[in-house]
């Protein structure tokens, strides 16, 4: 196999936290907001893990190790831009103001969930405070959609952009190929953010592609390609900022590969010990993105241990409270099975809905499963 010998990903901050001369373009309160978002993602992960382990939710997708990618990228977007996220991007939603409670409703699939309990957990959808487009399980399908949505911005002469995020595995999908190709030809205002976390479930990058890097794939489509250190929040922000600027000014699409590492299982159902080499985990431990950003903040005198403790307690209280509230919130009503298939309820669904109501009344509710999810 061709040895993978990538150029080094670009960084803005040294591992010690120095960012000599680099202007992050964020005010102190924005920097703290980014930091708080990182902590919220971590708290959310932790709480969901516990909920899953105690059988109260079926499934969750941890973000440990990769949090800086979503948060860094989101910080370079405006609220009027659209995000086509993967299931590992809820940090983007949190950054722009989605509250943990709204997310917890989804984790429990309850009646207050924006998706009306129809999707698996971690499949969020929001239209406020920004378009965080309904997450789909099939990998890669959202990528050409982002290009289409971007073309709508182009047609109307708006300088808004779409950011579409996906994993290293996602680069093998059909959607990746169509999307980058169309975006190249249309010079569409899209940012393709590839979160290369080293794994697609148990498939390592070396079995995913023989290319030198994921970023280099941009060449096949005549768009810009950038390789960035994914655990350096400000580097991800900077790469995204440049790509956004290019897109807004008519310069077309960019593929950003943010190189990071998944410091845990693919999901709560996965046992990474079967396949992840311990040495790799160890090597990445020192690049923990939260600690890395803390060192930067400390360097610009915005951070001390006390801040971490205060914020951690704050966000944990919020997330915990959200979980409790979501758990209490009743399940969606039976009618939600039948609505939203079409805008208007067609006759046959009206009838199927009625029959199912009558049956539930006549025979009682059917038994629910335990909700444990294998993947």
């Amino acid at each position: 196999m061709t040895p993978i010998s990538p150029p080094e990903p670009f960084t803005v901050t040294t591992l010690e936290g120095a960012a000599a001369g680099h202007d992050p373009g964020l005010q102190p309160d924005e920097l703290i907001h980014a930091y708080r978002t990182l902590l919220t993602v971590r708290a959310f992960d932790e709480v969901c893990m516990k909920l899953q382990r105690s059988g109260r939710i079926g499934f969750s997708i941890p973000n440990r190790g990769i949090e800086a990618v979503s948060v860094g990228a989101a910080s370079a977007l405006d609220k009027s831009d659209w995000i086509f996220p993967s299931y590992r991007d809820f940090g983007m939603a949190l950054y722009h103001g989605v509250r943990p409670l709204e997310m917890m409703h989804n984790m429990f699939g309850n009646g207050a969930d924006a998706a009306k309990g129809r999707q698996m957990s971690v499949h969020f959808s929001f239209v406020e405070p920004l378009h965080f487009v309904s997450i789909s399980s099939p990998i890669g399908t959202h990528l050409p959609q982002a290009v289409g949505a971007a073309r709508a911005f182009q047609m109307r002469g708006e300088d808004r952009v779409c950011l579409a995020s996906f994993g290293d595995g996602g680069t093998s999908s059909l959607g990746f190929h169509s999307a980058l190709n169309f975006a190249g030809v249309w010079r569409a205002p899209v940012i393709f953010l590839c979160q290369n976390n080293g794994w697609a479930i148990s498939c390592p990058s070396a079995k995913q592609t023989a290319s030198e890097s994921y970023a280099v794939k941009a060449q096949a489509y005549g768009i810009e390609g950038v390789l960035v250190e994914g655990n350096d929040l400000l580097a991800v922000r900077e790469a995204t900022r440049q790509a956004v600027e290019r897109a807004r000014s008519g310069g077309g699409a960019t593929l950003i590969e943010a190189r990071t590492y998944r410091m845990g299982g693919h999901s709560t159902s996965d046992d990474p010990k079967r396949y992840v080499p311990a040495a790799e985990l160890e090597a990445w431990e020192c690049k923990d993105p939260v600690r890395w950003f803390e060192r930067y903040l400390a360097g610009v005198e915005l951070w001390d241990e006390g801040l971490r403790e205060r914020l951690e307690a704050e966000v944990m209280a919020e997330v915990d409270g959200a979980a409790k509230e979501a758990e209490q919130t009743p399940a969606p009503g039976l009618e939600t099975i039948f609505s939203d298939v079409y805008r208007d309820l067609p006759t046959h669904l009206r009838r199927q809905g009625q029959e199912s109501f009558e049956m539930a009344q006549r025979l009682g509710d059917p038994a629910a499963g335990d909700g444990a999810f294998p993947l």
């Binding site: 969930d113 129809r118 289409g148 169509s178 169309f182």
Partner: protein
């Protein structure tokens, strides 16, 4: 009213929708300067410019995937798939995405879009330029599936499809593109989806059909009339959502039913009509519900005229259920 071929009526419908609404876009392979391989989009790039009628790279997944994104974001895409046989690379985008977006987002996002594509045999196109894949899509909640059989319906149903808030697969019977002519209203008269069309009233046998099988069934009905059998011919027009009550009423009316389509019989659309009747009107049936369909084989080439149901076969089935 103007006399138009079916393909001209499609062109009229597209033009009219594009004139009425700036957000309507037409794209696909070769739909631009060439005007489409069947010329359905002829002149649209000229009239509306490259921004509103344009060629895409050779990727059906890209065509439909970008259409979904445009639809989400305020445009009204009308995407062409050159032949229905080539829609399968986009199957995932249609079945997993367009059809399910509204549902999975709790109504926050939706994909009002039209996918136009020619389907069916009769041009010696062999396995891959002749298929009738409607059943694949009719098993997909969230989609609408429409098939016109006359120029007037081609325009009227297309206008309704473009105005519809949900994704519509618009299958055009290529065998009829230039072989049927008919009056088409000059102004815009959308034909409402999920409405049956009674092609011919009859009291002995009901034939359910659509697309290119409508003239075949009508011909058979005429021939049957000469033999004293009165045949009720129903053009389903919208296959999904189907006017189930309408179908059942027409079936009960005669107590004898034949369904006709080009697609293979097994798990074809005809099976659904039979099943509806077997479930809701079996007590009215005085004969077996007969299916006339393509064989359960890939679509052949040289012998396609044996494969595609023709008047002989439909008439044979009519007589069989009549004499049962």
């Amino acid at each position: 009213m103007t006399t138009r071929t079916l393909i001209q009526a499609v062109n009229d419908g597209l033009r009219s929708a594009m004139r009425a609404d700036d957000s309507v876009l037409v794209f696909g392979e070769d739909v631009g300067p060439k005007g489409g391989v069947f010329l359905a989009t002829e002149g649209l790039t000229e009239e509306f410019g490259e921004q509103r009628c344009f060629d895409t790279p050779l990727s059906e997944d890209g065509i439909i995937g970008t259409a979904v994104g445009m639809a989400m974001n305020g445009l009204r895409p009308v995407a062409e798939i050159q032949f229905q046989d080539f829609i399968f690379p986009a199957f995932d985008q249609i079945v997993s995405e367009a059809a399910k977006l509204r549902y999975r987002s709790g109504g926050q996002y939706s994909a009002p879009m039209v996918i136009r594509t020619p389907y069916g045999g009769g041009i010696r196109g062999g396995l891959y330029h002749s298929q009738s894949g409607e059943a694949y899509f009719c098993h997909t909640p969230g989609l609408k599936v429409v098939i016109p059989s006359t120029p007037a319906d081609a325009k009227g149903l297309l206008l309704a499809a473009i105005a519809d808030p949900d994704p519509v697969l618009f299958l055009e019977p290529k065998a009829l593109y230039r072989t049927v002519k008919g009056d088409v209203p000059d102004d815009d008269q959308p034909v409402s989806l999920s409405s049956l069309r009674v092609v011919r009233q009859g009291s002995d046998v009901t034939v359910f059909c659509y697309g290119a099988m409508v003239p075949v069934a009508s011909g058979a009905a005429e021939a049957a009339a000469e033999k004293g059998i009165s045949v009720n011919v129903i053009d389903l027009r919208t296959l999904l959502p189907l006017d189930e009550e309408g179908v059942l009423a027409e079936a009960r009316k005669t107590g004898r039913v034949v369904t006709v389509h080009e697609a293979p019989r097994f798990c074809g659309y005809g099976a659904e009509i039979s099943a509806l009747i077997a479930e809701n009107a079996i007590e009215y049936m005085e004969a077996p519900v007969r299916r006339v369909a393509g064989f359960d084989t890939p679509f052949p080439n040289t012998l396609e005229h044996h494969y595609i149901p023709d008047q002989r076969r439909v008439l044979d089935a009519i007589e069989e259920v009549y004499n049962f």
